[in-house]
Assembly symmetry: C2
Homo-oligomer: 214 residues x 2
Amino acid sequence: MYKIKVSYAPSVRRLPSYLLIARQAFEHGDEFLSGTVIANELSLEPIQVRKDLSITGIVGKPKRGYPVEALVKAIESYLNWDQEVKAVVIGTGNLGSALIGFPGFKKHGLNIVAGFDADAKKTGAKVYGVPVYPITDLSSRLPQLGVTTAVLTVPSEFAQMVTDQLVSCGVKALWNFTNVKVKAPEDVVVQNEDLSSGYAMLSIKNRLRHERLD
Amino acid sequence: MYKIKVSYAPSVRRLPSYLLIARQAFEHGDEFLSGTVIANELSLEPIQVRKDLSITGIVGKPKRGYPVEALVKAIESYLNWDQEVKAVVIGTGNLGSALIGFPGFKKHGLNIVAGFDADAKKTGAKVYGVPVYPITDLSSRLPQLGVTTAVLTVPSEFAQMVTDQLVSCGVKALWNFTNVKVKAPEDVVVQNEDLSSGYAMLSIKNRLRHERLD
């Protein structure tokens, strides 16, 4: 399993927010963007922003901040978002469909080229213009599509079975939205996305709010 | 804005995974669960698991591990997940509908009691048994429902306007799935959920995989 230094993960998670702000500044025609402005926008400490951005290799200028165009490119290059990644979504229920239609992904180089579903009522149709194929076509279609990245939004009970299938079809990167910690070979990258994690954060913040009021 | 210590956030984000494993052990009738078993299951270091769990106040026994029932209760209690929180989902498109139907939330005490949408074609119907009302009914319905938590899945351009409305209706906790960093008063808790964050993690892991192969 490929792990990144655990201490890096929160910084990596914040990079997309920085990128969004940097792109807005670029579209606005700004030449420089200060870490303090980014920090204020995101309710973070300026030192945190500078530390996070340093992992991309970008260097700011004293008193002026980061050169905007270079900042956008540094984040994109660090995340490999300057290159197109073709992906498929397995399971085109509400969540899968939402991900296919998510407007942000294309800007990050993520191009979802097909969906797959076990439900014959969903296959043959298009979701946001993306074709949905029967899941039984995985082994024939994936190599043909040249895809090695898959987004998993199937019901939990099928998560491991579908993962095994995807791996056997050459998938090397799996973005897993099920709550099953699927097992995959060492050379396959898995990112587990747990919607409950965000709710845990909201819950803690809410609890702190109540404690302050008490 | 209520902030938790930044260093705590990754631990809090992992608690739901620990809770899932602890609940499975409980259902399986296990009396103790070791940090090492949890660590193996989640591909984490045992010391990380013990550090994370320590924030809940749970204490393990040498060589035996954590008492399972107490562990479940400690995590639930720390997150306030042993108490019901009623919430509404604003915007019942694919993502909003997926969140309404997400099976995990009920287990965390999160009870989504209604959806709201601006699209008359969506209102009046039910999503996973949950009624969807016109967004114009917010101010009359929210106090009546006794809800102070809202999940925001509207198109980005409406995010701030809807946030202002929710705040004026008494919402105190906002789980924001739009990519707009909405502004809210100091006494309102906001958790920004950015699907791009997870993709940034997958991208970095994938990049490291490629670099190892090169």
